[in-house]
Symmetry: C2
Subunit: 473 residues, 2 copies
């Protein structure tokens, strides 16, 4: 269906239906995205305070056939939050719906509005002596509704799952403006289709999440963190297996770091303290969170000893203080920023079955080498089979000169992912950036089912059009 731009007359209509302050002029910051490659069309901005106001906004848009773009923290990496083409949208920002509606420590549940900043959700949980384990680089500015919309991953997925695994219930506005009151605190509820998981990860194309009941966990009593040098990605995987044999679910984080990332840090963020004098080709960051009665430092030492015996590690640093722990995390957490400062030709957020990771890394390096002396920074969530496989120009050269090879690089990487039954978007989503890639690699039966569901729930196609699925016609 043909959509209409959110223009001044639409804004005027909204102003008659909504309290003062909800409908606003759109500022440039709502039209940017973190990679700076796309600019959103400037339509109308609305900042509702209640789910009822969100409902009114969506209902008006549905009636007027105006596209709606839900807006969280604006930190998404796949251009789901700005609409660069077609009619200018109504941008619905959740920034004024930030309440923590309730905390139920005995139930390990917290209910937050969609606009709550992830770090604030973590802090609220922490204040009740509970852990909200979702943790990722943008946690200081991303909003929980956006995390849910893209089913964000992060550094604790190994132990606690993806965002969808941390959600018990949702309140949401569907594309026709109806409010779904699904804010359940239940652990078990088998009454019909799983609308919650359908909305989670649908990137705003099936509705707007306005609040969520989130699962909390006990705070691990003893936390231990280490970086260890490993001879290969293969060894890293074997070390992870060993760690899980030793401490079971106690392994919270297991991140792979390539020397290229450390080199980038030295180059563009020299203030970040690195743990090793030399620059290891491969290292890992491991964090254990153990129950009462277990000593995480001793467990890490035991892992290191056992790893040494089997040639799975060659060097290591176990944090002896909170400051040292922060230093180790700083290395990992600053790699994305270093990447950004260096500037990639193409970046990829891929996953493969965990046991294929070493083969993926080796074969990916081999195929990219065929394209010339490009540099690869391959790092990420080894324990989840999820790597960021980013490709950079040779040292000293400018990425602008490599724009011609960008498509080819991505083709090489994604073809390999496909060969290994992997995913071309492990944790970032599809947004608008990867729609063509999804069309190319996605299972056609699944895509057809997705289109049927989209049409069923959003027959006019107003919700975040162009994201996830190509707009027809």
């Amino acid at each position: 269906m043909k959509l209409n731009a959110a223009d001044e007359s639409f804004a005027a209509l909204l102003r008659t239906r909504l309290p003062e302050g909800v409908v606003r002029d759109i500022e440039p910051r709502y039209l940017d995205e973190p990679r700076g490659r796309y600019a959103g069309k400037a339509g109308v901005l609305a900042a509702p305070r209640t789910v009822e106001e969100v409902s009114t906004l969506v209902r008006c848009a549905d009636e007027a056939c105006v596209p709606v773009v839900p807006y969280g923290g604006g930190t998404g990496l796949v251009v789901g939050q700005v609409k660069p083409d077609g009619p200018a949208p109504l941008v619905v920002s959740l920034e004024r719906m930030t309440a923590i509606r309730g905390i139920y420590p005995d139930e390990n549940v917290l209910v937050a509005e969609a606009g709550a900043i992830l770090a604030d959700v973590q802090a609220a949980a922490s204040g009740a002596n509970r852990l909200f384990p979702l943790s990722l680089a943008a946690e200081g500015s991303c909003r929980i509704g956006g995390n849910l919309a893209v089913n964000a991953g992060g550094v604790n997925v190994l132990r606690y799952g993806n965002t969808r695994d941390l959600c018990l219930g949702l309140e949401a506005v569907l594309p026709n403006g109806d409010i779904w009151h699904g804010l359940s605190r239940l652990r078990k509820d088998n009454t019909g289709y799983d609308l919650r998981n359908l909305l989670i990860g649908s990137e705003g194309t099936l509705g707007i999440i306005t609040a969520a009941a989130l699962k909390l966990s006990p705070v691990p009593v003893g936390v231990g963190t280490a970086m260890m040098v490993v001879p290969s990605a293969d060894a890293a995987l074997a070390l992870l297996s060993m760690a899980r044999d030793q401490v079971g679910e106690g392994v919270s984080t297991f991140e792979l770091i390539h020397g290229q990332g450390l080199a980038f840090l030295s180059e563009v963020l020299p203030m970040v303290r690195q743990p090793f004098d030399h620059r290891p080709e491969w290292s890992i960051l491991i964090e254990l969170g153990l129950a009462e009665g277990l000593d995480p430092t001793a467990a890490l030492e035991r892992l290191f000893e056992a790893g040494l015996e089997r040639d799975l590690v060659s060097d290591g640093v176990i944090a002896q203080s909170e400051a040292q722990r922060a230093d180790l995390w700083n290395v990992r957490e600053n790699i994305p920023e270093a990447n950004r400062l260096v500037g990639s030709i193409a970046s990829h957020d891929i996953s493969v079955p965990i046991s294929l990771i070493p083969a993926f890394v080796a074969e990916g390096q081999r195929r990219i080498a065929e394209l010339g002396g490009l540099r690869i920074n391959c790092f990420g969530h080894l324990g989840d089979g999820n790597l960021h496989f980013n490709v950079y120009p040779p040292q000293g050269e400018n990425r602008a000169d490599f724009s011609g090879v960008k498509a080819q690089v991505t083709r090489v990487v994604h073809d390999l992912v496909q060969e290994m039954d992997g995913s071309i978007s492990a944790e970032h989503g599809i947004g608008r950036l990867k729609v063509a890639e999804l069309e190319r690699y996605g299972d056609p039966v699944k895509l057809a089912a997705m289109r049927a569901i989209k049409t069923a729930l959003d027959p006019r196609g107003i919700m975040n059009p162009g994201a996830v699925l190509a707009v027809a016609g």
Copy 2:
């Protein structure tokens, strides 16, 4: 759309399209259900061996507008597996698709066909030194495809989640006969809508699951089991909180048992050894599964001591051998069978927010008492907020004489559930048994979305018609 019965001419058509042995005469056992209250219409039975054969069957049914009932182990408790009304169906039994297609211990993944018996999946995992944690009374005969179709719960949900939380990927045949190859072993995959979770729990109304990639866990090194006498459901909840503070995720099972269940056991299954000489009004079964280095017996003793100090427990038995452990589990696992032998007026599979469990139990008892001297056996998965709240005639009376009060009993229980924002089906599903209840209590916006999705994916309404959603017209 009007459906046609699976008659002899349809069977003849199927025989021309499928290898010998797939299409069969239907035996009476496919038309029964465990509660013995409904009899399925006798149509045609098919027992395919491959997903391609399932696809052919569904395509033929779609073309002929013949209803399809997927059939697993036949153990479901909500009449999803037999179709008592309307045109006789094609029953597609997965009993010949029982292969374990692969085990990947390093990935903690197992791929099983839908017809694999749950106990066989558990055993295959165990053979690879891994745990497949789904565990429920019917595990010796239920099939994993059925477990997925209803999102089964069981005794380990507290720690490991519901069946949906144990599934990474699916292979399934959609209502048009298309095969979705979604058998992903990935931990992270954000490429579009969550079709997996949509199919899980849809009770065969959106397609037939033919295989699944299942998540395995490390086998806990030290397992400890105990029954403890608690003064109230409230105390049981406080004890659970204490247990989780002490051992974190190590609490695998926390089941509430009412004295009425123990009385039923004494009455109809006297060979089941009970741990206490007296018959406590409330007791709990707890199981810990701990990592290396922790002593589960010591942890249970510590919990008992701490509980004693705060008047949360008054007596207890900690299993000192595998035989004693089996005895304690026998008590819990035989309660459903004792219930069946006694014969309930009405049984309910409800959940409420965990902290409301004590209030639910007290208020439920109070309201049922107003209906006369009915007996209640209230037991189940306290840690999940999921109780089976079953109501029986007074001692010595016959349930047949109470059929007039059955609807009233259920109304009282489900009204209370609704008041507490609970669920009228926590782990058994809706099937055909609870369709009217779902219509009554379900969120209308969710129901409308469900109907839209059903129509989008199954426009002729052939897949398990009458289950979950009422058949229109």
